[in-house]
Amino acid sequence: MDQAFDATAPEVWRVKEAAERILNNVNQVIVGKVETIQLVLIALLCEGHVLIEDVPGVGKTLLAKAMAKSMGCRFKRIQCTPDLLPSDVTGIHYFNQKTFAFEFRPGPIIAQIVLVDEINRAMPRTQSSLLECMQEQQITVDLETVLLPRPFMILATQNPIELEGTFPLPEAQLDRFLLRVRMGYPDEGEEEAILTRFHQSNPSDDLPSVLEVSEILELQKNCRQVYVEDSLHRYITALTRATRTHDKIKLGTSPRASLGLFIASQARAAIHGRNYVIPDDVKSLAIPILAHRFIAKTETRMKGQSQEDIIKEILSAVPVPMEGTRRPAPSSS
C-alpha cells in the first residue's frame, strides 16, 4: 500500500530492491515469516544485533544461517555451553615454539555474521565478553584491541522455556540487542510447504549469495539519509519515556532504545521504498525494540502480563502526531 504514493530517491529504491532480493532468497529456506526476515534485515541495515527467541525447532538457527549465506558474509557459529570461556569467544595469544613469539589466534567472534546459539546457556562472564564487540565492534585481548570486520552482526538465539541450567541475560546485555524477534509456529499450509521443500535435500545447503559486502555497507549509509519529521522525534521519545513512568514497569527503557527505534524506523521506511518515516514504522517496531529492554514489576508478571502487552498498552495511550491530535500533556500519569 505504501508504494502507491511514493516517488522517492534512487538510493532508497536500491535498499528496497536489495531487501526484496534477500527476502526472496531466504524464503526458499524459511517458509512464511516475512516479517521476521524483514526485522533481521532491518537490524543488519542499522548495524544492530538480533536476539531470536522461541521454542526449539521453529527455525531460529536456520534463519540465521540463511541470512548469512544470502549476504555473502563471513559466517561463524558459537555454540554456547556452561563451560565456554571468554577466550573461546574472543581468541587467545599463544606461544609459537617455532617462531619463539606470542601469536594471536582469533576466536569465532571475528567474523561478519556470528550466530551465538543458545546464548543463555553460556556463563555470565562469557556473555559479558560479547558486550564490547556488540557495542563498539572491537575486542580487547591481552591489552590488544582488534577491530571487527564490517558489517558485523550477532544473531543470538535462546530458548524461553527449559530454563534449568541457563543464565538469564542481564539488562546490559539485552539492551545491546537492537531487536528481539520471535519466530512462532508455522500455520498448516506453511508446515506442509516445509515438508515439500525439505523432501529431498536441505535447500539451505546450496543457497546462493545475493548481496555483496560492499553493497551492504552502502545500503547502511543510504538508510541513515531517510527523513524523520520533528513530530516523530517527539513521538519516539514519548513512547520510550512512557516506559519510564508506567505503573507496571519497574525500570524503563534507556535512551539507546530511543535511538534504536529511530534508526530502525529509518531502515523500515527504506525497505518499503520510502525516504521518509511514518508513524506506522515506529509503531510496528516498538514491540521488537522496546519489549526486551525494560523490567516489569513482579506483580505484573504474576498476573501473566507480558512485556509485549505493556508495550501495546503504551502504544494505545500515546497520541500519534497528526492532524486533530493535541500534544500530550506533560503529566506522568
Binding site: M1, A4, F5, D6, A7, Y227, E229, L232, R241, R244, T245, D247, I249, K250, L251, G252, R274, N275, Y276, V277, I278, P279, D280, K283, L315, S316, A317, V318, P319, V320, M322, E323, G324, T325, R326, R327, A329, P330, S331, S332, S333
Partner: protein
Amino acid sequence: MGNPPSRCLEGSGWNCHLPGLGFQRRRFGCLVEPRLARRSPLPALDPGTAALIFFSLALLGMSVSHAREQNSWLSGPYKGLWFGFLLFSIALILTLGLLISVAVNPSLLDFILSLLAKAGQFILEMIQIFFSFLNSFFSPPKPAGLPPSLRMPQISRPPEEIFWVFSDSVREVIRFIWGMGCLTLILVALWRIAGQVFNWLRRKLSGLEGAEVEPLPGAFREDFWHLLRKIFLALRIKWPFRGGRKSPPLLSEIESVRRIYRQLLKWAAAKGCGRHISQTPLEYLQTLLQWLPEGRWDFTFITHQYVRARYSLLVPTEKELEQVGRSWQQLKQIRSKPAAKRTFKNRR
C-alpha cells in the same frame, strides 16, 4: 554547691572536680546551682557516687527500653555483647572527656575564640566593603537643612575627587536594572526549587521511588501552562497563547492537503467514525474503509497524499492537489446520497 543534683550537673558538665586539672569554670553548674539549692535540701554526694548512680540509671534505662524487643541484653542471646558494648562506650566517653579536659585550658580557648573573632571581623569588613561599593551607585540622601545664613562666611568646599559621577537619571536606570536583576535571580531560584519539588512529588505520587527517572527540565513550566489552560477552559475563556512550539511556516500546497484531511476527520467524527488518538493515518484508513466502503478510492488517495505531505519533505503537485479536492467533493456527495443508492465508481 552543696546539694547532689547540682553536683551531678557539674560532673556531667565542664567541671569534673578531678585533682590536678585546674579547669574550674563550672558554667552550667553555676547557672543551675542556686535554683536547685533552694528547692532540694538533700545530703551531699561526691562526684564518683553521682556518676555511678547516673550510669546505673542509664544502664537500667537501656535495659528497660530494649526489654520489649526479643534481642534485649536482659533476656536475649546478646546479653554479653550488649553489656560489653555498654562498658566499652562508657569507658570511651570517660577517656575522651578526660583527654578533652587535659587538652583544653582557658588560654587555648581564648586563643581559639580570638581567632574566630578575627575571622568574623574580617568577613564583616568584606561585607561592609561590598555594600559600600553597591551604595556608591545610589545618590546620597538630600539633606533637609536650613537655607544658608547670609551672615555666615561662605566657605568654599574643595572639589571632591570622584572617580565616576552618574547623573540622577542614569542612577535611576541602574537602580531599576539592579532591582530587576535581583528579582529575577530570586524568581529563577524559586522556579528551580519548585521544579525539583514537583519532580519529587511526581515520583512519590507515581510510586516510582527507586526507579530510574529521567530529569525533567521545564517540567514545572509545562505543568504550570497545563494548569492555566485547564483554568481557562473551566472559565470558558479562549486560550490566548498558541500551544506547543511554533511550527515552521508550511507551503500552501501542503497546508491545503492538511486542511482537507482535517475536514475529513471532522466530518467522519461527526458521522460516528472518529479516530482514536493512537491510530496512525493508515490505521484510520482501514477503519474508514470498513465504515464507508463506497469511498474506498477517495479515502485511500486523500490519506496517502496527507501522509506524504505531513511526514515528508515532498510537495504535492498541482494535479495531485486538484485530485485531492475532487476526491473530497466526491466523498461529500456520497455522504449526501441516500444509503441505498450509494455506488462507488472507479475513477481511474
